[in-house]
């Protein structure tokens, strides 16, 4: 197990180098000059050149990359071109919010999605199944932006129960996490339904039933346990995506997370900030996948990483 972990950790290094390389050159291929954006519409060419020099953008591109990489190996992500603060400080200021929202949303999604999928699979083609399937379809098709605004109108403007946006208390987390979870819950419910339908029709389930086991035990201990692997995969992937920033939800609910930071940085062509944040996402995604792999082994003893 330890060797496997070590191997996986070592394998992240070329992945991160690959991300940084691709990102660095792709960003610079984008049209638009960061110095011009920073200087504003009315600045003189001299001022734009001055800013370009300060950002080091007047140097050859290979030199810029060398400087960037030499800083990166010292865990220095540089300073934001826009705010001139260290990139790591800007990211740290927002990362806890992003993680909090992602964790609450994924927990809500699992809490409702898995039972809904099970119910739907146990009673296929019943009104309950149709209800779950239709709700899942509704959840997937509904634009996050629209749902968020409708929740704001209902719970903040009309009922005045919850804050419309911002952070500061547990009440602030409710609406954005429900909005985010609505999309993920649909995914999880659909995946649970299809994998449960498959396992429920397999021989080991029939054997369990013929042994006279209670239906709940058959469903939870035998069918669900075997159906969990694809569900965990979906949950892991969705969690990774949520960590990557839920831009629309963050925008609607004024949630100060990483998604908005990235979008603002892209619009301002803030290279150091985009590079730092995307690299962090890469790292988080790798980490989530690693955790998912270990959960596989925990859920299914046949999976070993020796």
């Amino acid at each position: 197990m330890f060797n496997y972990l070590l191997k996986r950790l070592i394998s992240t290094i070329p992945v991160l180098i690959g991300i940084s390389l691709l990102l660095f050159f792709m960003l610079r291929m984008l049209p638009g000059d960061p110095a011009q954006v920073l200087a504003g519409q009315m600045a003189t060419p001299e001022e734009i050149e001055n800013i370009r020099r300060q950002l080091g953008l007047d140097r050859p591109i290979y030199e810029q990359y060398a400087v960037y990489m030499s800083r990166l190996v010292r865990f220095d992500l540089g300073r934001s071109a826009r705010t001139q603060n260290p990139v790591i400080d800007e990211i740290w200021a927002r990362l806890p919010n992003t993680v909090l929202l992602a964790v609450v949303a994924i927990a809500l999604a699992c809490l409702f999605g898995i039972p809904a999928g099970i119910i739907s699979a146990v009673r296929p083609y019943s009104w309950l199944d149709y209800l779950v399937t239709m709700s899942a379809l509704f959840g997937i098709s509904m634009p996050v932006f629209w749902l968020g605004l409708m929740l704001v109108v209902l719970f903040s403007v009309i009922l005045k129960w919850l804050p419309a946006g911002g952070t500061g208390s547990w009440q602030h987390v409710i609406l954005p996490s429900i909005t985010l979870a609505a999309f993920v819950v649909a995914f999880i419910a659909r995946m649970t339904r299809s994998t449960m339908l498959e396992t429920l029709s397999q021989d080991f389930t029939t054997t369990a039933r013929s042994k006279g086991l209670k239906e709940q035990v058959v469903i939870v201990k035998h069918a669900l346990k075997n159906a969990l692997i694809p569900i965990i995969t979906v949950v892991g992937l969705q969690f990774g995506l949520l960590l990557g920033g839920a831009v629309l939800t963050e925008t609607v609910f004024a949630w100060p997370g990483l998604g908005r930071l990235i979008v603002d940085s892209i619009l301002a062509r803030d290279y150091p900030m985009i590079q730092g944040a995307i690299l962090l996402f890469g790292l988080l995604y790798i980490f989530v996948n690693l955790v998912v792999d270990f959960i596989y082994a925990f859920v299914d003893p046949r999976i070993r990483y020796d």
Partner: protein, 519 residues
């Protein structure tokens, strides 16, 4: 003998008089204090260093922290602040500024000529990032005369200098704080304004508390929270739900609904920002003046303002906003007349087989893409084939700044918002040969030596009446040459709780809430 003693009637009258006068002259600190004012805004500040930012909203915040030499009110009148008065030398090259005595920065440092000189030296420092340096590019030095007097030495005469130095760009910063914080001054602003930065939670909110040692009248609001809410619809919802007091720039499409709400006050003064379709005067089909006139007649600007912008703009009636000094409504207006447009194109031997290339940014100005699409349709209605391309802002600006040899611009949408209430930044900053790309953003490549001469003279002229004449002449010239399709002047929309009274809103997209009262 007439009885002069106070009878009951006189006593009541006197009491009422005292009460009324008392309210009028009552110092603000005697008014009810507002503990907290929450303002919903769309973006977080990148920096609060006055000379390092370009966004009006951040300049607005900086004004509260730093204060300015003068304050230009919504009518364009200058009021003394950190400077009490100024004199101009006969040659227009020296401005002597008298500073207010007894003022301290919020960290206790004295405000004096040394601090002012220090602030100007920072701006002159070529290594410093000063995006708006061009706006004070005419000042070459700041000299200390005595502890409370400085002289600004100019490279060339510049008549609107006093309003120019009312911008937060040149606001003095505490020299002690500059030394203490160094580069980190961006996040630790210390000025002589009515507020002090208390907390800055990145991406979430900026909190300011009242500067209890402010030299001026004590603000009524003890704490201002700038709450970052990027989505305008959420800001409006928060205003309606009572979670914020002021909603900065609500959606134009919702202005009518907000106005109908008795709990909300909507202010929308005309802005200095003009929105136009630039027409390349040196390349392509629009080099012909008749074509430029035809395009102006082809578009129903009133319909665009009413139907697309929901009345949050007004059609242009001169080359600059009506809110600036030097604006004149032109005698001849390009009223919507598609038949006349077609006739002009015929006279110009316009090649209808050619496709005119149109460009527009998206999300930079109010409904910019939709406005461009409407104009595309208007041009097509007079038989002109037009192709519209949309770009994000950085890509768009890169295209605008190319020199004429490389420029692919024909017809393009852009906005221009002078920072002070004077026509110079509009007329000089867009139409002189000097600002043709790549040197400036005069991307219509309008270049007329006669016009340049008039504008230069207007900068040298200290007599306001004579200066107005020159600005009128320049306006008439450029209006007739039509390097733009003259579209509209935006309005600055701000909505706030109807309990708030006494808000000051300016045409430069700023608002000052610190002396408001709340019922």
């Amino acid at each position: 003998m007439k009885d002069t003693s106070l009878n009951a009637r006189n006593l009541i009258f006197l009491s009422i008089l005292i009460a009324v006068l008392g309210l009028g002259i009552c110092p603000v600190n005697a008014q009810a204090e507002i503990k907290e004012l929450i303002i919903g805004i769309g973006i977080d500040a990148d920096t609060l260093l006055p000379y390092d930012q370009t966004t009006t909203l951040m300049q607005n915040m900086a004004d509260l922290i730093y204060d300015s030499f003068f304050f230009q009110d919504p009518e364009g009148e200058l009021h003394p602040r950190l400077a009490t008065e100024y004199e101009v030398s006969a040659d227009g090259l020296t401005y002597t500024i008298h500073l207010r005595k007894g003022v301290k920065f919020s960290d206790g440092t004295d405000f004096n000529a040394d601090a002012v000189k220090n602030a100007w030296d920072n701006i002159f420092d070529p290594k410093a990032r000063v995006p708006l340096r061009f706006a004070v590019g005419m000042v070459q030095a700041c000299e200390k005369i005595d502890d409370y007097t400085v002289a600004l030495k100019l490279k060339y005469p510049f008549a609107p200098l006093a309003p120019t130095i009312s911008m937060s760009l040149v606001s003095p910063i505490s020299p002690a704080a500059l030394e203490k914080y160094g580069e980190n001054i961006r996040e630790n602003p210390v000025g002589a304004g009515p507020y002090i930065l208390d907390k800055w939670v990145k991406g979430d909110r900026i909190e300011m508390v009242r500067n209890e040692n402010y030299w001026g009248p004590k603000p009524t609001v003890a704490k201002i929270i700038w709450k970052i809410v990027p989505e305008a619809a959420t800001r409006e919802a928060m205003l309606r739900a009572g979670q914020i007091h002021i909603c900065y720039k609500p959606l134009p499409s919702n202005v009518a609904a907000l106005k109908a709400d008795p709990n909300v006050t909507v202010e929308m003064p005309l802005d200095t920002r003009t929105i136009f379709m630039g027409l390349n005067c040196q390349k392509g089909v629009t080099t012909n003046k008749k074509v430029r006139h035809a395009f102006n007649y082809a578009v129903d600007k009133k319909a665009i303002v009413d139907k697309i912008l929901f009345g949050t703009a007004e059609p242009m009636d001169g080359p600059v906003s009506p809110k600036v000094f030097g604006h004149f409504k032109m005698d001849h207006q390009y009223e919507y007349n598609p038949e006349k447009a077609k006739q002009l194109l015929k006279e110009a031997n316009f090649d209808f087989s050619k496709t005119v290339q149109m460009r527009t940014p998206q999300g930079r100005y109010l409904f910019d893409r939709q406005v461009s699409e409407a104009i595309q349709a208007y041009l097509q209605a007079i038989g002109v084939k037009a192709e519209l391309r949309t770009y994000d802002w950085p890509t768009y600006v890169a295209g605008l700044l190319k020199p004429i040899e490389e420029s692919e611009l024909e017809v393009f949408l852009l906005g221009w918002g002078p920072l002070i209430l004077d026509a110079d930044m509009g007329l000089y900053g867009q139409f002189t040969c000097e600002v043709n790309p790549p040197k400036g953003l005069g991307s219509a490549f309008y270049c007329n030596p006669e016009y340049d001469q008039i504008m230069k003279a207007s900068r040298e002229e200290q007599n306001p009446e004579k200066r107005l004449e020159l600005l009128k002449k320049a306006s008439e010239l450029v209006w007739a040459d039509a390097p733009w399709m003259w579209l509209h002047v935006e309005k600055f929309v701000i909505a706030y709780s109807s309990k708030i009274k006494g808000m000051v809103v300016t045409p430069t997209e700023k608002f000052y809430p610190h002396y408001i009262t709340m019922q």
